[in-house]
Symmetry: C4
Subunit: 206 residues, 4 copies
């Protein structure tokens, strides 16, 4: 095809989907309100008796914003899309669109193996596809921007998050009591990335 593969419209569409997914997260909280009213509860119970929903709302908000930023950072290095990139982006969007579903499951049900597995698994899928896109951008000269080539940091950062999420998923499935506190493994990403970057710089200088 002689057609331009300028990613502008793909990025705009992605942004719109992410913006909607992140905003829809509030709807289950809104739906709590008439329910509490129906049971003649006090207003404050919409929060005090629904803390799990509030926390998972906040967690999913942070997760989606974080992945949007990662997407933004990665696509600054894209000058043209390719079919694999579009497919990965579609999968990434699917996982983002799905996220309000496991978010609601985690909010409503006591955490069990399925609940935490579903939630962390969805986040893992976003992260794995994010890493795949980063690798595609680095590998394909027709995709990567020449003026602004992708940095190794991008792939390191995304891959680190993906590996830690895989670890969190395994921990949560093996030890259901730990539940989605396993996500705190992500706090390791900063130190792990630092070590990996230092090594890489040493290797580059050698």
């Amino acid at each position: 095809m002689a057609v331009s593969k300028e990613p502008h419209r793909l990025i705009l569409f992605t942004d719109a989907v992410v913006a909607i997914a992140v905003t829809l997260l509030v709807l289950p909280l809104v739906d709590i309100v008439p329910e509490v009213a129906k049971e003649h509860g006090e207003a404050i119970e919409v929060i005090t008796k629904h803390q799990p929903e509030v926390w998972t709302f906040l967690l999913s908000f942070v997760v989606i914003i974080r992945f949007w930023l990662a997407h933004h950072r990665a696509y600054q290095h894209v000058r043209a899309y390719s079919t694999p990139l579009i497919l990965c982006n579609a999968g990434w969007l699917l996982a983002i669109v799905v996220l309000p579903f496991p978010t609601e499951v985690v909010g409503v049900f006591q955490s069990d193996r399925f609940t935490t597995g579903f939630y962390i698994g969805t986040i893992f899928a976003v992260s794995a596809l994010q890493t795949a896109m980063t690798l595609i951008i680095r590998a394909d000269a027709a995709v990567a921007s020449e003026e602004n080539p992708p940095t190794p940091e991008l792939a390191i950062s995304s891959a680190t998050a993906t590996v830690l999420l895989a670890a969190a998923l395994v921990v949560a499935l093996a030890l259901p009591a730990i539940s989605y506190w396993a996500l705190f493994l992500l706090l390791l990403s900063a130190p792990v990335e630092q070590v990996l970057r230092r090594r890489q710089r040493v290797a580059a200088e050698a």
Copy 2:
């Protein structure tokens, strides 16, 4: 009118509508969660007992993304819109906006003649209007981009999908037992398009 008919804003608006339609697909899944909780079901039942909803969610997600890509490909060849193009685009948007409705019907009800007819019929409408837009872009020199003229492949690909969807609709209505598995006829689109393109190239060389 001396007014510019640059399609930029039309495309942005279309993208926003499609992004919302594709993201709203998840809401019926989210609504399943408190329902299962109310009936004291286990968390995993939100998927195991609601498989039809999950599958049609995935199917409709793929359908909408696929049509968005087709729209994107077609509009790369548009330099100015015309009234017929705007009308077809409005109809196309209507069918996309409606899609979550038959999606929910297919998810909730056992498949019968009406259910599958409504679902496949809506997808057929999107595809037929997509084909109409492709033909308008090819036919109207005031619409088509000069630097980047529409390729015959575009019309072939869209028309093939439309004809196969019409066939799927007929099959599904005639043989309700086949139901929306009739959509697998779309798998024929790749080989059919290949044959048509080869013929066209032969004709062009002759």
Copy 3:
């Protein structure tokens, strides 16, 4: 202020709001589905027993798309926004955002004076604010584009629709039996506009 008043971001925001409002219209239709299922109805009843909802959905879809096109046409002549234009645009957006509410009222209730008054009144508000914006664009040289000055047709077309909607509102309130069929007065807009344009051209030539 020395700040640029370029309307780009205002237009994008407006488009996003309109896109969401038009897509949300389908949600009440989606909500019908589990309700019919709960009452053990057949799938086809989601349409046959809910025709008013389906018709008002279609009507409101057409109304919103029509006003979006009018907004698009008017803002092609804007090079900078002013405070009155922003205020009118905010009111216009409010009426668009509200529209799914009277749409649902019309769909669910038998039409009475309140129902049709609320529905037609909301559409009238959009139209009146649209006309106000057109007049602001024509009147304020700091707002109007110089390369692409607003045409008298714009104001004529918008004012005609507003006057006919006011007439429809009066008819519907005076004769509740006519209900929102009063909206068919809008079919007069094409001939009325033609007469007005011809007169204007005659006046301009004289």
Copy 4:
């Protein structure tokens, strides 16, 4: 990083989120309709018996549009984002996304200390983060536009609103009877700003 920090995509994403949040506000009104129908109420009761929901819808609409305009005005002076600006913007978006939740609480429940505190507190959070962004834009030469430097008026206006909202929050919590009428303190913002600007001009001339 050598990467451009052009704020275009950040702004578009922000606009999309705000547009969705403002449009979702209507959904609780839409949900009132079938409820009233179920209780065999008359159509007009969707408004007459639900005035608190209607008023808080309108109030929240105005609040969100007002903050969007403030965001728009502030970001006209941004040429590149920084990490603190992105974090404040994410917090600002969180508060905007959350707003439909306290809006619904205020609409459904009689106003008590919690209800008004939650509602005004959320608006205060948006305003405080808005002020923080204004200060970041003024303080960081790498963020501020050179052609179009941020004016002191921006910070004054945003800080005034934030201080008045803090006062409204204190009043509403201390005197629950006043409830969210405390928000009328915001009417003081115009005269307060005028005084502050005059002083500043005097100081600048001295």
